[in-house]
């Protein structure tokens, strides 16, 4: 069992969580060309390294961020998306 530390619910089995993939910058719908939309939709971060991802604790429907190594699967830290210390 792999443990993910939820900022709201504490240490839980990773089975209780759903991954939503790496954080991407939002686009301005009025100024975005088709090619940029295509890139935004389909080219996700997939490099071998550390990424910040959206996760959801399914039973409580709580969304938060986790920093994780895509090679070693080490979860470096988790934090609420409003946490000013979180985004680096």
């Amino acid at each position: 069992m792999k443990i993910l530390t939820c900022p709201m619910n504490g240490d839980r089995n990773i089975d209780e969580f759903q991954s939503f993939g790496p954080v991407r910058a939002g686009l301005d719908p009025d100024r975005t060309a088709d090619a940029e939309w295509a890139r935004h939709l389909f080219r996700a971060e997939n490099r071998k390294g550390v990424v910040i991802e959206w996760w959801r604790h399914v039973p409580s429907n709580y969304y938060f961020l986790a920093e994780r190594d895509l090679v070693s699967n080490e979860i470096i830290r988790t934090f609420d998306s409003s946490d000013p210390q979180g985004r680096t």
């Binding site: 069992m1 792999k2 990773i14 089975d15 759903q18 991954s19 993939g21 790496p22 088709d34 090619a35 295509a38 939709l41 389909f42 080219r43 996700a44 997939n46 490099r47 071998k48 990424v51 991802e53 895509l70 090679v71 070693s72 699967n73």
Partner: protein
């Protein structure tokens, strides 16, 4: 040792046969460099050398021959997809498998036993009707069958009448089957080697020298190679390898896990798959029951196995066949799958003029080995993409012409 036996060993009439020669020294240049010594790359090398007269070909493999996803898949061969483009492509794959042992003069143990996909709900049955009609339209053997037929096709199944996972029907695909994955790669490698293709094992591509819109040099840990054309066919490493040439693919990597039981007497004839249980089973020619399911639920570049997935697969397998509960697991493993957003592969041209792609094979690559090799060899030899591959172009993600095969792929193969 009996001298009579030694006589054969020394005789010129019975030379030592060498299917795949040891890795030779790298030449300064090749007409075609194939990155990736798995089934796909070797199939392409075979077709280039046999049908297109291109023999200056180097297959560059980081590890050992066919040791990546070719060795890790669960050997399902089928064409019961949803899109016209997908069915046309995989139909050719099945047809090539039907004659592959003759083509390669190597027994790939193709066994066309049919694939039975189970529905546990009316909603699943509706999607099966769509797949069956598309399949019939394209000339494949795919049909929706009722409970009684499911029982006839696979009498060992626990239909669990009335339960929450009651089997209400199935999709019967008589064209489906399985083959020996290693044999497919070895057969292609032996044929290609015989015609002069060089297979370089333990040779890792470290970068590409791109000048203008062409790759001029492939750099490896064993030296530089000047190249005419380059094909990327590296399975789970496709994203990384393409990025070395400046091509960013719409791929995310997920582990895919599978396992086998101890060998049993032959009892399971068809390939059985359950959409709702995310579990599928096939009995190999050695008697082991191969059990697979969906990819892991989050991105990872790792071939580690997890107990969670083992428990999940065991639960599905025991639900379908309760008598498997006392059977031991023999092996478990994982591969890295290069998943695309629409669950279809990316084949053909790239933004780099002499770089061709055989990527995005996710969880559906083994069955396409012969057809991908054949059609990409044609692409490289003629310098243009044949019609059957055009729908799978990388540009489809810019033009929003996706080929959605998720319903016919995810965990139900």
């Amino acid at each position: 040792m009996p001298l009579r036996l030694l006589k054969y060993g020394l005789s010129r009439t019975y030379p030592i046969s060498e299917d795949i020669p040891a890795t030779p020294d790298l030449l300064p240049s090749y007409d075609v460099v194939i990155v990736g010594g798995g089934g796909h790359g070797l199939a392409c090398a075979h077709h280039l050398s046999k049908y297109h007269g291109i023999r200056s070909v180097a297959v560059i493999e980081k590890g050992y021959l066919a040791g990546g996803n070719t060795a890790r898949n669960t050997t399902t061969i089928r064409s019961n997809y949803i899109t016209l483009e997908g069915i046309a492509f995989y139909k050719e794959a099945v047809e090539l498998f039907e004659t592959l042992s003759q083509e390669l003069d190597f027994n790939v143990m193709f066994s066309q036993r049919g694939q039975l996909t189970l529905a546990h709900s009316e909603a699943t049955l509706r999607s099966f009707h769509l797949r069956a009609e598309m399949g019939k339209h394209m000339g494949t053997r795919t049909e929706v069958v009722d409970q009684k037929t499911v029982q006839d096709l696979c009498p060992q199944l626990n239909l669990d009448h009335g339960g929450p996972l009651e089997i209400v029907g199935g999709l019967w695909h008589a064209d489906g089957g399985t083959a020996r994955h290693d044999a497919v790669a070895w057969g292609y490698a032996a044929q290609a080697s015989r015609r002069g293709v060089e297979i370089h094992q333990r040779t890792e591509v470290t970068g590409f020298e791109v000048v203008g819109d062409r790759i001029q040099v492939v750099n490896t840990n064993r030296g530089r190679i000047a190249c005419g054309q380059v094909l990327i066919a590296t399975g789970g490493m496709n994203y990384d390898v393409a990025l070395m040439a400046g091509v960013e693919l719409p791929i995310r990597c997920y582990p895919l896990q599978a396992m086998v039981t101890q060998p049993l007497k032959p009892w399971l004839d068809t390939l059985v798959s359950s959409v709702s249980l995310h579990t599928y089973l096939v009995q190999s020619s050695r008697g082991e029951v191969v059990i697979g399911g969906g990819s892991d639920p989050y991105q990872l570049y790792s071939t580690r196995s997890t107990l969670d997935m083992k428990e999940h697969l065991a639960e599905g397998a025991v639900h379908l066949f309760p008598f498997l509960q006392g059977v031991r697991l023999l092996r478990q493993w994982a591969g890295i799958t290069d998943m695309t957003p629409d669950y279809s592969p990316i084949m053909g041209a790239s933004p780099v003029r002499n770089l061709w792609l055989d990527c995005g094979w996710g969880t559906w690559g083994f069955k396409a080995t012969p057809v991908a090799g054949k059609r990409l060899a044609q692409t490289i030899a003629e310098g243009r993409v044949p019609d059957i591959l055009k729908p799978f172009a990388l540009e489809r993600f810019e033009t929003f012409r996706l080929l959605n095969e998720m319903g016919a792929t995810a965990a139900s193969h």
